[in-house]
Amino acid sequence: MNDQSNVAELWLERRSPESAGEGASPQWLASAAGACVFLHGDGVSWAQRSGLDANLLICSASWQRRFGQQQPASGTLGSLMVFWARALLAERMYSSAGQSDVRKGDRSLPWLLRYRGDESSLARREALELVMAGASLDLKLALVLERPAWSSFSEDDWQSWKQLTDHQLADLYCRARPDDSLPPGITRLSSDLLDRHWSFHRSLGI
């Protein structure tokens, strides 16, 4: 097992082994020695497997909701605060959500989080918790909800995510077409604005 204090490389895994495909091996298993992998949402199911050669940190709330008091076969339980503490120190970050980390600018710029949302309703709720944990540390956050996420939101879903803007916890944007209907107070992100004009400290798919 590698040294868990090493934060040169931090992976965020939110997909279950099933959604990664039968027999598929996650990229983080082949990553450099010393990488830390934070399992969150449906991704905590990876910790049911024994013998994984990785430093696994498991979101304790995500784990308990799925497996109760059962102990994980691999890894160590930790809080979302641990994830963000590591994220602040990590040299490089990667995510199973498909968009790898790009660092630009300085720490006064926001973290740019992109959320696709094509996952279970429980995991969606947990994605919001991930954002709120960063907000609780007073991090400047900008969240982009991709179309697959927000287009299937119920009224209750919208209401939950709107707490981010109602209470200045994060800026919230939706990637939407001009004819898409968005609730009041939600900012539409034109398709090319993000890539051309936005400065950010770090970008991460969640």
């Binding site: 979101c59 979302l80 944990a133 609780s136 709107k162 707490q163 916890l169």
Partner: protein
Amino acid sequence: MNKEPVFDEHGHLADAASWNPALAEGLAGADGVRLEAAHWWVIEFVRDYHARYGNPPLMRTLLAAWREHIGDASAGSRDLYRLFSDNPVRQACLYGGLPKPDWCL
């Protein structure tokens, strides 16, 4: 005929709909807390927030609202901990008839 309130394994009310102010006073009293106007403001804020968003507020959100409520931008979290010495949000959930927050923030 009133039913006896049922509590979960964490001591929180199992059925939020059976909450009432007298129950809150009883729960707080068992912890040695006498609920006064400031306590009630916090409890009501947390209950309203939970009803609106489906989860309790972050401490920073509660603090921002508290500062606005008392008109003192310099108020700190210690003021809220004077009211609820264990954890203001969690204790407001407990006395306010809400579930124990199950997130790991």
